[in-house]
């Protein structure tokens, strides 16, 4: 039978009931756009330096790239209704590994690749412990958060690891295309890749299915464990990329350089529309959340709000974003 007519005939059978959209659906879909727009307008009025090419590209975009990578990393576990709390120390240890390989072993750009592989391995370990031993992901990754940050401190003796290698630095700060910093290009590439993975691959599809109802996925023949581990592998890989790029950008790495990224990334992910209840949203939406956080931080700096206050603001942003995005049809009770 011809394809077009099949769809047409099916279309003719569809009943006339309108799918109901709740106000919450609209808030989740359009909220981040509106918020971003309002923030840009507000800061443009408040500070003459805000809406300039140099500020938007050099500060907002460049400073947001690490957050983007880490937020993309966290998106996949959250999409599956798990969570990866170890991303901060994952960034720290992979950065430290890269910096030490460059300064002590002169591995150069290759060291960045090793850092990415290391992140992937750590992520896989997180995932295997979580999926195979059936330990809740927040506990596994809370443990590895401590293990990895302790290991990074042990490796470095608690100090920062500087190095001199212009080719490594170029990976992040060079301007291969127009005058866009390479780090922004990296961010964009991984953003597109993750969006593609989310929509076009079985792995991406199963992330949504698992997040919605793991039992149903299991009873549909999905090899659930495989894809649960996969989410943490992706998370580790992207944290490795973030660690490597951060080390490249600053020509040094320190165990604590990921500090603060966890809360910011959860804010970005949730604000983008990937609810902690799983199954909705995705990496494509996470970019929006990252931009909101990036613009907020940059704007607050420009108008002279001190960093302590910024931290308080961020805390509120996280709670409000979670409150607005939770899918309450799915859960009645929160613990």
């Amino acid at each position: 039978m011809a394809d077009g007519t099949l769809l047409d005939r099916a279309g003719a059978r569809l009943t006339k009931i309108r799918a109901e959209r709740t106000p919450q659906d609209w808030v989740i879909d359009l909220g981040p756009f509106v918020l971003l727009f309002l923030l840009v307008i507000a800061f443009s009025i408040a500070s003459p330096n805000f809406f300039t090419v140099s500020n938007l590209v050099d500060n907002v975009l460049r400073n947001s790239t690490i957050l983007l990578l880490v937020s993309l990393a966290g998106t996949f576990p959250i999409l599956q209704q798990s969570i990866d709390l170890s991303i901060e120390s994952m960034v720290g240890i992979t950065g430290v590994i890269a910096a030490m390989l460059i300064s002590d072993y002169q591995l150069g750009v290759l060291a960045l690749l090793v850092a990415v592989i290391a992140g992937t391995v750590f992520g896989a370990l997180n995932g295997i412990v979580f999926a195979k031993l059936k330990i809740p992901s927040f506990l596994v990754t809370l443990g590895s958060l401590s293990i990895l940050s302790g290991s990074a401190l042990l490796l470095t003796g608690g100090t920062s690891v500087p190095y001199r290698d212009p080719s490594v630095r170029w990976v992040s700060t060079g301007e291969l295309i127009f005058s866009i910093p390479n780090i922004v290009i990296w961010g964009l590439l991984f953003y597109l890749l993750m969006t593609f993975i989310a929509f076009k691959t079985p792995f991406g599809r199963y992330c949504y299915a698992l997040g919605e109802n793991e039992e149903v996925a299991d009873l549909s023949g999905v090899r659930v464990d495989r894809y649960k581990i996969g989410a943490f592998v992706v998370s580790g890989l992207l944290c490795g990329v973030a660690g490597a790029l951060l080390a490249a950008r600053t020509s040094s790495a320190s165990p604590g350089m990921g500090t603060g990224l966890l809360l910011q990334s959860i804010a970005a992910i949730v604000m983008g529309g990937t609810a902690l209840t799983g199954g909705v949203g995705g990496p494509h939406r996470t970019l929006l959340g990252v931009l909101v956080i990036g613009v907020l931080a940059n704007g607050m700096n420009l108008v002279g709000i001190q960093s302590f206050v910024q931290e308080i603001v961020l805390g509120f942003v996280v709670i409000i974003a979670v409150a607005m995005s939770m899918d309450r049809r799915k859960i009645d009770i929160v613990k």
Partner: protein
């Protein structure tokens, strides 16, 4: 509070007070209720006399649930009134309803498994059993014991509810409804699909209780199982599309009369499409073979085989292991012993994922918790088992299918094909499935496996909780599948259905397959014969 006020007045004492009431116990006077623009109920009037059991039947969406929700105060009527003992009342929620003597036994069991029976019985009244903040468990327990004793229900109230069987939990629910409405003369107990999931024994027990308790209570009995409604009720109201279309005296009505009223057409005769049941030649290939399948504690050394195009029914009382057998066959609950062959090849019954690749599919008992991604689009639900196969992948000269990149167009076609084939009523192809009615949801579960082109289906209560018209559709689909050579293991609690649909029927008892009965057209075993083997 309820418990303390009623204090030591026993149910039987109060019977005498209630003996002569002139007005009907409960009247619903031309009630209407609409949600947004949809009329859920329009101008419905019902009367329930003291001591009467009133049946309420209708297809899904006919307005039965709405009516129950109005009676328990969850919704308010838009117009019309509810009259109790001749005086109009406004019901402000389930607690208020219970005070006025209306209590409900819900479709889903509302029990907290780790608490004891008596704690569950008085869960919302625990503060009334406390003194200085300390719970007097002895008093709670003895009150609970007294209640169930008067109801003639036997339960170990000191045991945690997790140790109860399904039937015992249901009995606890019934007791709870009585205890909630205990301080009114003659409570009205609403039973919403109380037999769903109950086995024959459980039903028997429940019906006995209803019969005995009608002296001291009135019942509204809502069920899809028309034979039960006929058996239990005095009068039966039929709802269709929110209106009351008919009222029957249960003594003179039969199933086909009810069905006609509900559906608006004749259905009973060819309900199971038995005329389309083929006889399976003994030369047909064996599609599924189980040898010595064992699951510790549940299934004991079960062997059988199912041929191409054959429907093999499995019946047995609750706890006989038939559900576990279904799960073990598919590798959902991996068996502890035994082998499974699909199309002659041995399969590894430890992973459904691997079984699916051999052509197996599993339709679980609980479609909402196990069968559907309720808040995801229909398209995604239908394609879920087929993701990663070439049926949903881009061709792209081999590269796409190598990576199994999902082709959204193929996915939509797949959904469209199922919507047409199974006549799924849905607003859009990508509607979220929680918006569909139960029958249409069940068709989506079937569509998942049809689109995966599974040819050995294990189905656990495939028509559970769906209305007559949807059941008919499911039976039609099963017949068509069988004609295409698909084999089915048809596990069911509804004996007439299993008898009507199956070519052969396996009877399970205490984990063992005690018999396999032929059920050819024209020579089907009777319910009684099967029950005899089951117990």
């Amino acid at each position: 509070m309820i418990g303390t006020i009623s204090g030591d007045r026993s149910l039987s004492e109060r019977d005498e007070d209630a003996a002569d009431t002139a007005a009907p116990r409960l009247e619903i006077e031309s009630i209407s209720k609409s949600f947004r623009s949809v009329d859920a109920l329009s101008d419905v009037s019902i009367a329930i006399e003291t001591g009467e059991v009133v049946g309420l039947v209708g297809e899904n969406g006919a307005g039965k649930s709405t009516l129950l929700k109005l009676l328990t105060g969850i919704h308010r009527p838009d117009s019309g009134r509810i009259v109790l003992n001749g005086s109009p009342v406004q019901i402000d929620g389930p607690r208020d309803a219970a005070h006025r003597g209306i209590a409900i036994v819900k479709q889903e069991q509302d029990v907290v498994p780790n608490l004891t029976g008596y704690e569950n019985l008085y869960l919302d009244q625990i503060p009334d059993f406390t003194r200085f903040g300390i719970v007097n468990t002895d008093r709670m327990r003895s009150r609970a014991e007294q209640v169930i004793e008067e109801l003639g229900i036997e339960l170990d109230l000191a045991a945690p509810v997790s140790s109860y069987s399904f039937t015992e939990r249901q009995m606890l629910e019934v007791s709870k409804a009585f205890s909630e409405s205990i301080d009114t003369d003659h409570p009205i107990i609403l039973l919403d699909e109380p037999t769903a999931g109950l086995d024959e024994d459980g039903r028997e027990l429940l019906f006995n209780r209803i019969d005995e308790l009608r002296e001291r209570a009135s019942f509204v009995f809502v069920s899809h199982e028309l034979d039960e409604v006929l058996e239990v009720s005095d009068r039966i109201y039929v709802l269709k599309d929110g209106s009351l279309v008919d009222e029957f005296d249960a003594a003179t009505a039969d199933e086909s009369m009810l069905q006609r009223a509900m559906v608006g057409r004749e259905t009973a005769d060819e309900y199971y499409r038995t005329s389309r049941q083929p006889s399976i030649p003994s030369t047909a290939d064996v599609a599924l073979r189980a040898d010595g399948l064992t699951v510790a504690g549940d299934v004991d050394d079960v062997s059988f085989s199912v041929r191409d195009g054959e429907i093999f029914g499995i019946v047995g009382v609750e706890g006989c292991g038939k559900n576990t057998l279904g799960r073990a066959l598919c590798g959902v609950d991996p068996p502890d012993g035994g082998t499974v062959h699909v199309h002659g090849d041995p399969v590894d019954p430890t992973s459904l994922g691997r079984m699916v690749e051999t052509g197996m599919g599993y339709v679980p008992k609980d479609r909402k918790a196990e069968g559907l991604l309720l808040y995801q689009p229909l398209t995604m639900n239908v394609s879920l088992p087929s993701i990663g196969t070439e049926r949903t992948s881009h061709s792209l000269g081999g590269v796409g299918s190598l990576l199994s990149l999902i082709d959204g167009g193929k996915e939509r076609e797949m959904a469209a094909e199922s919507v047409e084939q199974l006549d799924i009523k849905t607003p859009r192809l990508d509607s979220l499935v929680y918006q569909l009615s139960g029958g249409n949801q069940q068709k989506v579960v079937l569509a998942k496996w049809l689109q995966r082109q599974s040819d050995v289906l294990v189905m656990d209560n495939v028509t559970r909780g769906i209305d007559v018209a949807a059941k008919e559709e499911v039976y039609r689909v099963c017949r068509e599948l069988a004609e295409d050579g698909v084999s089915m293991v048809f596990i069911g609690d509804e004996l007439p259905e299993v008898i009507g649909m199956s070519n052969r029927i396996g009877v399970m008892k205490k984990g063992r397959l005690v018999d396999a009965v032929d059920a050819p057209v024209g020579d089907k075993p009777t319910e009684e014969a099967l029950i005899e083997m089951m117990i």
